[in-house]
């Protein structure tokens, strides 16, 4: 048993060191994780391809439908993230808001001082004000928020959260009691599903697209996707 333990730890320790995640410390910008180590986030290049397709920029052209050409055609139409296109960087909520507003030809409604400010909420505000499109809510509704980890006491203090016997807390345990998960904000990286969900909620006007007006009855108060 002792030998087995030694062999196991001998193999595990270097494996852990080799595969430990220095890329977790990667900063936004030059040293951002490459596509090879990217997890679930969609890259700007991938998002450019999706957006260019949805905007119809490849219709009637002979351009190959790839990320490079997607970025080119979007740049030609003054559609770009705050720091320009970096195809391997993850796309954030803030950048997506800017891309959508630009694709709708409404960037002139954004104050000049906000147009180059990555922390601005002006693009996001315009989408919600004019189209009822709340990007954070759409993205959050697609995420698991860890809501199952309800606050709970120590020891068997209380395992019911409601008078309804069909509902109950998740029991007891000395682990993360605060729940809530990770917040969705401007810097939250997006997945392909996020992008598709947002684009499904709006139809930006440009190229071969539709009028770009979001349905006036769009309900932004109810998540559209089931969440655990």
């Amino acid at each position: 048993m002792k030998d087995l333990y030694k062999i196991f730890t001998t193999l595990l320790l270097p494996a852990a060191l080799v595969f430990s995640t220095p890329q977790a410390f990667a900063q936004d910008g030059e040293s951002e994780p490459t596509e090879e180590t990217e997890s679930q986030s969609i890259t700007q290049g991938e998002a450019a391809l999706i957006l260019a397709r949805r905007l119809g920029f490849f219709v009637g052209t002979t351009r190959p439908m790839d990320q490079q050409n997607a970025v080119k055609v979007l740049m030609e139409n003054n559609i770009r993230p705050f720091d320009g296109w970096k195809v391997n960087d993850p796309l954030t909520v803030g950048d997506l808001a800017r891309l959508l507003v630009q694709s709708m030809n409404r960037e002139n409604e954004i104050p000049e001082e906000d147009q180059s400010n990555p922390d601005t909420t002006a693009y996001r505000d315009l989408l919600e004000r004019e189209y009822g499109l709340n990007l954070e809510k759409i993205v959050a509704s697609l995420r698991r928020t860890g809501s199952s980890k309800d606050p709970k006491g120590t020891g068997p203090l209380d395992d019911t959260a409601s008078s309804d016997p069909l509902e109950g807390r998740s029991g007891e345990g000395d682990v993360d009691e605060l729940g809530g998960g990770s917040p969705v904000n401007l810097n939250t990286p997006l997945s392909e599903e996020d992008i598709q969900a947002v684009l499904t909620s709006t139809a930006p006007a440009q190229g071969g697209g539709s009028s770009g007006q979001v349905d006036d009855d769009a309900d932004d108060t109810t998540p559209s996707s089931p969440t655990p």
Binding site: L12, T37, R144, T154, V175, S182, N185, T221
Partner: protein, 399 residues
């Protein structure tokens, strides 16, 4: 947990996270979060002043993984959330580590255009060692296993207007130590029917019936209960939502002084979104509830709770939660174990508060600082009174 298991458990968890990260270029359909934190706990055994033992304080290292998987195909959605955590105590005598597990599963199946099925399961496994001092057992081993399985089928009788939902729940609690298991293991089976009516696009009302049977290992707290009532939910505007549930409950407990009891129940909550990204929830309720001691068949409990969440900047978020409950234990609800010479009726209050600051360093890294306070004061189990403070600082990252 034995000493040799500690590095093994830590390495195993870290390796799972690391290998998954290395494999991430294959775009596994799994989100992985790792949360490593250091915590100071001033009362690791939750001992109080009335017992013959001092509070034990300790620093802890908590390594927690969270594995999230979901998939949606045609009419089926399936999600899994598994979170093991390993806790190492710098100064807890006899047993310096715990290994806990949390598992949540959900399956949504659209059976037809009008009918859907949902199945959920919640599993918890936790270690809570006992405390023995000077050959006196202050607290017994409370290692436990808890599972709750829920299923419901909902069908639209009148499309977009009227629905009927049938629910079932089976919950079990199992303690490892025989003495504790004999007193506190239970099985709870609940069935319910809801008739749901959409009154307006943002307003629903429903009539509800619930039947619950509760069986303990030793039958002192066994009971059967029926609830009849209604629920109401309204979204007044995108910034304000309210929910209300109320009715009457009839409960039969064969081992109580008064075998039949009845009481109204009510639950209400309000959700405010006063500003962008700011959320405030408040709620209150009153109902008959399970008793934590086998000298009483039930308690009547009132509770209030609240939570607040707000980003302080683009990268900094504050979360606050709190709850207060007061249970009333009446002599009419005492069981045959109750001894007037040594036991007493009265109240039991539980206060819980937690706060957390999260700072997003990069798109994948968060620093979190948190504080939690828990207090129990009880007339019916005064030896269990305690208060506890926990402060932690941790690093969370997604792979």
């Amino acid at each position: 947990m034995r000493l040799q298991s500690i590095p093994l458990a830590l390495l195993a968890m870290f390796t799972v996270a690391s290998v998954a990260s290395a494999q991430s270029d294959q775009r596994l359909p799994v989100d992985i979060y790792n949360f490593l934190r250091v915590e100071y706990d001033d009362n690791v055994y939750t001992t109080g002043e009335g017992v013959a033992a001092d509070k034990v304080e300790s620093f802890k290292i908590i390594e927690q993984l969270e594995l999230l998987f979901d998939t949606e195909r045609n009419n089926t959605y399936f999600g899994v959330n598994y979170s093991p955590s390993f806790v190492y105590y710098e100064d807890r005598p006899d047993d310096s580590s715990d290994l806990n597990h949390q598992l949540d599963l959900i399956l949504n199946q659209q059976i037809s255009r009008r009918t859907k099925l949902q199945v959920k399961d919640t599993l918890r496994r936790a270690e809570e060692p006992g405390l023995v001092e000077d050959d006196v057992q202050i607290r017994k081993n409370n290692d436990f296993f808890y599972n709750s399985l829920n299923a419901n089928v909902e069908t639209q009788v009148v499309p977009e207007k009227t629905s009927v939902r049938v629910d079932g729940r089976y919950a079990v609690m199992r303690y490892d130590e025989d003495d504790v298991a004999d007193a506190s293991d239970y099985d709870q089976l609940t069935g319910g029917v809801d008739l749901i009516q959409v009154l307006a696009p943002n307003t629903t009302a429903s009539g509800q019936v619930r039947y619950t049977t509760l069986d303990y290992e030793t039958s002192f707290r066994d009971s059967d209960s029926v609830q009849v009532g209604a629920a109401f939910s309204k979204i007044f505007n995108p910034k304000f939502q309210a929910d209300l549930r109320g009715g009457y409950e009839y409960r039969t407990a064969d081992n109580a002084v008064e075998q039949d009891s009845h009481s109204p129940y009510v639950d209400g909550s309000l959700v405010f979104l006063p500003a962008r990204d700011t959320r405030l929830t408040v709620g209150a309720g009153y109902s008959q509830d399970k008793s934590p001691v086998n000298t009483f068949a039930l308690q009547r409990r009132a509770r209030v709770y609240g939570s607040f969440s707000r980003p302080l900047s683009a990268a900094l978020t504050l979360n606050l939660t709190g709850s207060y409950s007061m249970g009333d234990f009446d002599a009419d609800d005492a069981t045959t174990l109750y001894d007037p010479a040594t036991d007493t009726d009265g109240d039991e209050t539980v206060l819980q508060f937690s706060s957390r600051l999260s700072y997003q360093v990069t798109v994948r890294n968060w620093i979190q600082a948190s504080y939690q306070y828990t207090e129990l004061e009880s007339d019916v189990r005064p030896d269990s009174d305690f208060d506890r403070n926990r402060v932690s600082l941790g690093w969370k990252y997604s792979l």
